[in-house]
Symmetry: C2
């Protein structure tokens, strides 16, 4: 058996580790089951052996967990059903609770926090930095937050207050306070002596910050430059004065784009007076980008938030209901549009078989348009100067699609029902609905963006509602005019 | 007017910069237009003034571009229509061509490369590192690649060959060769002397690599540790031996997960003998994560690849056609399913108005299931042990949804047509189709994953095909049995 070491290991194959842990948990459960059954009627000897085996599995599991990286334990917790998750959580050393709570997803964190009492939670939060406590704060009970607050130093309290004051999607929410700063009139030798007083520099310290008398940021000094220069060089001769500054109230999105564009590892955050208030590091940005892109995918599929795959049926259902309810409403509306043409369908039942084609293809095409526009909006590529151009382009594409795929659908209709007029109605309806789809597919996200809302949320429900109802209306309307005498 | 400086500036407000450049381009175009019109009949004086004004705008634009970061120029190029894009591209100093080509997206890169001749392209590629040339290689003409290859040193050629040999989604494709390595028996003082021989350390050098006599990696030494320790400490006493190792043939996804989980800035890549062959840095990982998540979103919307928003109508249409053609096929099939119940619909036309509801809601619900399963698969959270559990959970949710929303839809049908049997058929059809949707929504991605395919691509077409056709079949089938005598 491996000894637990001070430095956690990196797991080579996470899936294997997970299987190993599941295996230990199952053996343990098995032994426990046997022990319970046999303990009552049978001899003590049996029970003793069982307890030993039982203990052995738990010891193995605990040793395994001790040597694992906090992020890997978080991963395992995410992948385990709730009972097993809590079993593993109990085996984790309590001094690691804090770092692991930071690593798990919101939904899993909730399940872990629910299993802990006030003391445990306060202790866990006490292990964390102010910016990390701020991340946990929304999930912690009020009384725990009070305990934590009391236990902090004045400086930490100030930082926690500041970190909690920024909105979730601002730079302030990504910021930490682990920045090292020096003055510009000292030599590298003095800098080195200062740095050697630290046992360990904060993670992601790729540069130290240079400030003036008033704590205003005047430059950054990369560690890279410290190690390749002679000790007698003065900081002001070596520091960069061109640097990417972030502001705590700026959108987190903008910071992420700056990190991507300029390949940053850390960036200073300054207030309106130019005073250094914190820093953002690339690991936080990477997590942010991943989380944002995941929530885009989830929203596109109509899920409110990320789901713990082992959440209760009831909880998961609630996460999915808003969307389904909305869709049901738009489906009812579309159904009434069809209903108003019942007379027409009664006379010409082929229309009922063809109408879903008109609605469906336009929906898909409009969705393509919207996706491209939302991306361009997020990148800030759409300006007054080019929006008309984009509109014309999307209309041209949908016109082309209308002629090509509408033509194919018209032939399909003609082939089935040997009716030229039906084929023409089909093609025209497809063409019109595709053009209408492109129009709304472009205008909806642009309007949402103009009014400061996230165009990725809700665009698709609106879109489908319009291409569905619109498609039925156009197709059945044209059919009523041209086919029914 | 600002002087161009050596160090490029970070742009504070990208959208403003873009507007400024568009403005200059338009003024320039205006002057050019006037010059063309007036040059023929009128006096020389006019033409001279025009040329001066004309030149002035271009000079301003060039100065602006010179001081911009390569990544910001790339951003501007992306946001400009093709003629203006090429105008700006011509104004960029040719020694920056290489770095900018690396920054732009694939589709925009194509348009830039198409405007350059062999010499220009060879020169641009010559400015880049081997791993960057490998990224450009698929877009460069054969003869340019031959030129570039000839101009490289033997070591660079070897690196280029190696970089080009790895598949696009492997660690090898993310890797660069800018790693600094030292031996473990030297002191920090010797390390420092060695480092000072560099003018500049490679970007993202947060650690240097420690290798043995045979170039096998035995540890890593963070710069952070170098600066906080005394010069007489020996490397072997200070280096970490626990480190995350990557392998060139590993999936890039795995590397990205390791960077996210362990908050890495750089990680060594070793071959099967443990020899150091390269490193991966977090900026590349961040780009990779962004690109992957974008292509997930694009694929979900049925787009083959990212689209230059100013690409020709024809090119954009081709990017969207595969999907539309596939959807048209599945729509034709669904249409034939309805067609086989024409007799039923003729007798009871209300069915035509209600059938899209059954199909649509199940499609949405199945899509939610698939999205959650795809995410869990990507994270490796689904094991043999819990897949049955997940299946049961999804079936339970869809059953619940079927009762709730199917019930609502049934009441809606009853309210409209005052027919209890119709309401019951509606509810049962919704329930059955939702359950079927959950089943395929779970099984399709799991099967695709088992067969080594990316479940994010194509799942949704298949899914919609099944919930549409299936919904029509179940609803109209039940109606034929229970409603039509």
């Amino acid at each position: 058996m491996t000894e637990s070491t001070n430095e956690p290991r990196y797991t080579e194959n996470m899936q294997e580790s997970l299987l190993h842990i599941q295996n230990l948990l199952e053996k343990h459960a098995l032994v426990e089951g046997v022990a319970h059954k046999e303990a009552l009627p049978r001899a003590d000897r049996h029970a003793l052996i069982d307890t030993l085996v039982h203990k052995q599995h738990l010891t193995k599991l605990r040793a395994k967990l001790d040597e694992m990286h906090a992020a890997d334990i978080a991963y395992v917790l995410e992948a385990l059903p709730i009972e097993q998750r809590l079993q593993v959580w109990d085996l984790v050393k309590s001094e690691r609770d804090g770092e692991i709570l930071i690593e798990v997803s919101d939904s899993v964190r909730e399940s872990l926090i629910a299993s802990m009492n006030r003391e445990e939670l306060s202790a866990a939060a006490g292990q964390l930095d102010a910016d990390e406590i701020a991340d946990l704060a929304p999930d912690l009970p009020q009384n725990v937050m009070r305990d934590v607050f009391k236990s902090l130093s004045i400086e930490d309290r100030e930082q926690l207050r500041s970190a909690m004051s920024y909105s979730e999607d601002s730079v302030g929410a990504l910021m930490d306070f682990n920045m090292i700063h020096v003055r510009d009139d000292i030599t590298l030798e003095v800098v080195s002596r200062y740095l050697r007083r630290f046992d360990e520099l904060p993670d992601h310290t790729d540069q130290i910050f240079v400030v003036d008398r008033d704590e205003r940021l005047i430059g950054v000094l990369p560690l890279k430059r410290i190690v390749i220069n002679e000790p007698d060089v003065v900081v002001s001769d070596l520091m960069h004065t061109e640097m990417k500054l972030l502001h705590p109230d700026e959108k987190a999105d903008k910071a992420a784009q700056a990190f991507e564009r300029y390949d940053l590892v850390s960036a200073p955050v300054v207030d309106e007076d130019g005073k250094l208030v914190g820093r953002v590091t690339v690991n936080v940005v990477l997590d942010y980008v991943r989380t944002e892109s995941e929530s885009d995918l989830l929203n596109q599929a109509g899920l409110l938030e990320e789901e713990d795959i082992f959440a209760s049926v009831w909880k998961s259902a609630k996460n999915r209901w808003v969307w389904l309810a909305l869709n049901l409403c738009t489906a009812f509306f579309a159904s009434r549009v069809i209903g108003s043409f019942e007379g027409t369908i009664e006379k010409f039942v082929a229309l009922a078989t063809l109408m879903p084609i008109v609605a469906g293809i336009a929906g898909n095409s409009a969705n393509q348009t919207t996706t491209i526009i939302i991306r361009a909006l997020a990148l800030g590529q759409i300006t007054q100067a080019n929006s008309t151009r984009l509109l014309l382009k999307e209309l041209a594409i949908s016109g082309l699609n209308g002629l090509v795929w509408g033509g194919v659908a018209g032939l399909f209709a003609y082939y089935l029902y040997h009716n030229v007029a039906l084929g023409l109605v089909m093609t025209s309806a497809m063409l019109l609905n595709l053009i209408a789809g492109a129009l709304v597919g472009l205008l909806i996200p642009m309007a949402m963006h103009r009014f400061g809302r996230d165009p990725a949320i809700g665009s698709s429900v609106l879109l489908t509602a319009i291409t569905d109802s619109g498609g039925f209306f156009i197709f059945l309307g044209l059919a009523t005019i041209f086919l029914i005498n």
